[in-house]
């Protein structure tokens, strides 16, 4: 029995409003860290809010612990949620913030102190209990929000872009902390983000959404290496997968597989490549340019290299892609298809 399950879950918005969700079927696995990944307006937050009970579905069913919860209010769903802004109650101390769900769920009074202290120690904020939210740093706020979520021991955690308010430096350590937290409590967690790095790093599985439609659900390696369609192929990876339309198929290959011919072994597709731009990013180089002699319709392609010191701007070089790294997509449906033989003109 899945902790969270959705059946043809749909949310229709008025015209012009973003975030609609179109017939999503989903089943979480016990204790997993599931990430909803998509650009803004893809419906990932709407999906999460419907599971939380903050948004009423237009049609479809939501099940939590095997029970249909469509008609239940958020408080009756055994969920906990961490909001993008953390939504700490500004007039209450950290202690009272964490104790609020206990009070609201009418947990016996004499248990409050013990439970709050347990949650606080789990997140290492025992020393902050008397502070007000405005006296806390961004990272501390996140921990308080997590403590408030864990304190009533929910069946599932819902996290809505909790890292997006932190500055870049803090984000990495906060991410690590979240992962550690999840490993320790082992509660099924759904995490919404538009950041592919977060999704790849944290997710046991990733659900890629766009315009309210599920494009793929799989482990990070599956969605990256075997994208289900061109959207997933280009949304993940930076720079994205190179795509080229060839007669009735679209052929894609990742920039890291497009390299000088000398470093490619086995069966490969080779073409001449005119370098038009070189970016040095420290640990790697991003080289872009166009294939010579009109191959790939003269489209711009990217290459990601460990070193590009022997390349120069404006030069033309022999590059190649291993045959096995080519992905094929149907030209009309844009869905992944079996590899086929194509003519590279």
């Amino acid at each position: 029995m899945a902790v969270v399950e959705t059946r043809s879950l749909t949310k229709v918005f008025k015209e012009g409003e973003l975030g609609a969700v179109n017939s999503v079927n989903l089943e979480t696995r016990e204790g997993e860290f599931l990430v909803f990944l998509g650009p803004s307006g893809s419906g990932k937050t709407t999906l999460l809010r419907m599971i939380a009970g903050l948004e009423t579905p237009t049609s479809g069913e939501i099940l939590i612990g095997g029970r249909v919860v469509n008609e239940l209010s958020p408080r009756d769903r055994r969920i906990a949620m961490v909001f993008q802004s953390y939504a700490l109650y500004p007039h209450l101390s950290v202690y009272k913030n964490i104790a609020f769900p206990l009070k609201a769920q009418k947990v016996k009074k004499d248990l409050h102190k013990q439970k709050v202290e347990w949650a606080a120690s789990l997140l290492g904020i025992g020393a902050l209990l008397d502070r007000k939210p405005r006296e806390l740093s961004g990272g501390e706020r996140q921990r308080v929000a997590l403590a408030r979520a864990i304190v009533r021991e929910p069946a599932v955690f819902l996290l809505d872009e909790p890292l997006s308010n932190l500055d870049a430096k803090l984000r990495a350590s906060a991410r690590e902390e979240l992962e550690r937290f999840h490993r320790r409590v082992g509660t099924t967690t759904i995490y919404v983000t538009h950041d592919q790095v977060e999704a790849m790093a944290m997710g046991d599985r990733v659900l890629v959404l766009n315009k309210g439609v599920v494009h793929q659900l799989g482990t990070p390696t599956e969605v990256y290496d075997n994208p289900a369609d061109t959207f997933v192929a280009t949304f993940l990876g930076s720079p994205p997968m190179n795509l080229a339309e060839l007669s009735d198929v679209i052929v894609g290959f990742r920039p890291e597989h497009f390299r000088p011919v000398s470093s490619v072994n086995g069966e490969a597709v080779a073409f001449r490549f005119k370098v038009e731009n070189i970016e040095y990013l420290g640990s790697e180089w991003i080289v872009s340019g166009t294939p010579a002699s009109g191959k790939l319709g003269g489209q711009k392609v990217f290459s990601r290299l460990n070193s590009a010191q022997d390349l120069s701007l404006g030069g033309t070089y022999d590059f190649a892609v291993p045959q096995r790294e080519l992905k094929f997509f149907d030209r009309s449906t844009e869905k992944r298809v079996e590899p086929k033989v194509v003519s590279w003109q």
């Binding site: 009970g53 009423t56 008609e71 239940l72 209010s73 958020p74 009756d76």
Partner: protein, 280 residues
Amino acid sequence: MRLSRRIWGKVVHVLVITVFTVLLAFPFYWMVITSFKQNVDLYTMENNPFVFNAKPTLDHLKFLFTETRFVRWLANTTFVGIVVVAITLVLAVPAAYSLARLSGRWGERLGIAIFLTYLVPQTLLFIPLSRVVAYLGLQDSLWALILVYPSFTVPFSIWLLMGFFKSIPKELEDAAMVDGLTRFGAFAKMVIPISTSGILTVVIFTFTLVTQEFVYALTFISSESNQMIGTGIPIFLVRGDVYYWGALMAACLIASLPIAFLYNLFLDRFIAGFTVGAVK
């Protein structure tokens, strides 16, 4: 979330809105009904007052516009309103700008001090001011009102405009000055034109304050032809102990609605002025 609860919530919501709307708007509804009722209808106790027992009539309106000085009072009010608006703008716009920009922290303090003077009520000042007005020979003159009304329109206008000017990015004026305007030139040619909506708010606000004022008008003005609407209607539409309720209600309605309508359009800005940064 459960269905019955949701329906209950809706019912309560509609009920609350209806009850409050009826309570708050009832006097104005009553003005409308009364304005068009014949006297025989109004002054027969057995009649159901909620319906027209006799044919609706325009007699009260005719009476109001032909037999009373109502039109004159409207004109007086408009005249005083316009002059006070002009004085208020001349005094408040530069003051607000200079307090918002030029004087830093000290300017903020002075701004709050000016705002506090808005809280000094007419009922504290009307007695000494009546003497001042008499001393200046302005008794029973609209100029007395024109002289004193800015004392409460200017403070609030400064306060409103300060908030408005602060929201204009300083870089805009810096750019204008870099491009060759003087400090005052930047104010006159850059800030004023982009502040039209703030200035319009002040115009409307000042005008409505003038029409709503009662104490000074009651104290300084005595003759019937110099009244403002706020005092003329309640005092001079009553002859001795006889009330012309039909005409009175018609007058109230005609005078209230345009003011209410204007005020309503600019409400959000007035509220921003009142909330003194207590809302973030």
